[in-house]
Assembly symmetry: C2
Homo-oligomer: 214 residues x 2
């Protein structure tokens, strides 16, 4: 199952790497990191470079495409070459997926029109602009489109997708290989559980990023 | 707080990227990706390259060092330059940390002697060779040494460390930014919960890797 994960300057790395680590543990999944041009792409705050081994043109019809998120959604929504690739790949994909604000990339490519979807909690309302119905849920599947909430949610999505495609045993093996038995030290990883002041503080802090670039 | 994350050919990428994503969301944490030589390092199964921006010599005394794991522990335990760097950095570090089989790197450098530690469940017994007491727990802290179990456990460790160093509010903010409200589709991410046949199957499958390289 050819799986293409998009890389771009400004990406949030864990959005891509959580699912990658799940997918690559499954026999028969062939992960390709793709980008508009080959070579180094820098992470959102420029502390790390990842290498795209393939151009978009080299992987035009993956079975699975995955669009990671970014605090700067225009990096994807403003790139016509990437949006064309998403549209083309989605035509024949088995699964079209996103993590975090990668959903805004799917939206800008037109594939979320009339669909239920999720994204990072800070960007949930922005989905409406693309005709999507925002769903405040960690993983949302609508037909062949899977969207995950913020950053770490890509791990849960990838495991669910592997379970759907390859069966429960393959997904459980992947989960055990990455020893995914989460025990977060705080129970505040969603806006429903975190202190209100913290949620509002982060909304204010990130408003300029998300709002300024959508 | 200068934080150095080791990269090397053969690394398991999520081991490094889980904690990186937590650390980089905390104001005042400065993450550096380091390696014996600068430039591209390939992941364990060669599907991705990450760029080391700094040599070990350029970051000799980080406040935090983090050693990610690998299915090929000799990549770290067999590299004298890396082991020297670990030893030197550990002398003055605030926190010395590992994820997954990165603990075997700490062990080979001599810093786990007489300490309680954890690692990937497939490698737990191997800690004894370094004078450490294996603890079957997701995150283990012994003094200034933090070790995490397999792959995804680095996220939990990093959040706990941020809580210890910067306080609960900083850790909760990091957790909410990466929306870490885990909802794995299966409850089998540890050997205590997974089907016995699956555990034994993976032990057999990975024995040659782990056993052959420790």
């Amino acid at each position: 199952m050819q799986t293409a994960i998009l890389l771009f300057d400004g990406m949030t790395v864990l959005d891509a790497i959580g699912p990658y680590e799940v997918f690559q543990s499954v026999p028969g999944v062939d992960v390709h990191f793709v980008a508009r041009t080959k070579g180094e792409k820098r992470a959102d705050f420029r502390r790390l470079g990842l290498i795209a081994d393939f151009t978009l043109d080299e992987v035009p019809r993956p079975d699975v495409l995955l669009i990671p998120g970014t605090p700067f959604p225009a990096s994807v929504t403003g790139d016509p070459a990437v949006l064309d690739w998403i549209r083309g790949a989605h035509e024949t994909s088995t699964w079209t997926t996103s993590v975090c604000t990668g959903a805004l990339g799917l939206g800008a490519a037109g594939v979320l029109d009339g669909k239920r979807a999720t994204t990072h909690w800070l960007a949930l309302d922005a989905l409406r602009a693309f005709g999507a119905t925002p769903v405040d849920q960690r993983v949302v599947r609508d037909g062949k489109i899977w969207t995950a909430a913020g950053v770490s949610a890509g791990i849960d999505m990838a495991l669910a997708l592997v379970g759907e495609q390859f069966g429960e045993e393959a997904a459980q093996a992947a989960q055990l290989i990455i020893e995914y038995d989460p025990q977060p030290p705080y129970d505040g990883g969603s806006t429903k559980k975190a202190p209100v002041a913290l949620v509002e503080g982060l909304r204010a802090q990130f408003a300029s990023l998300m709002g300024g670039q959508e």
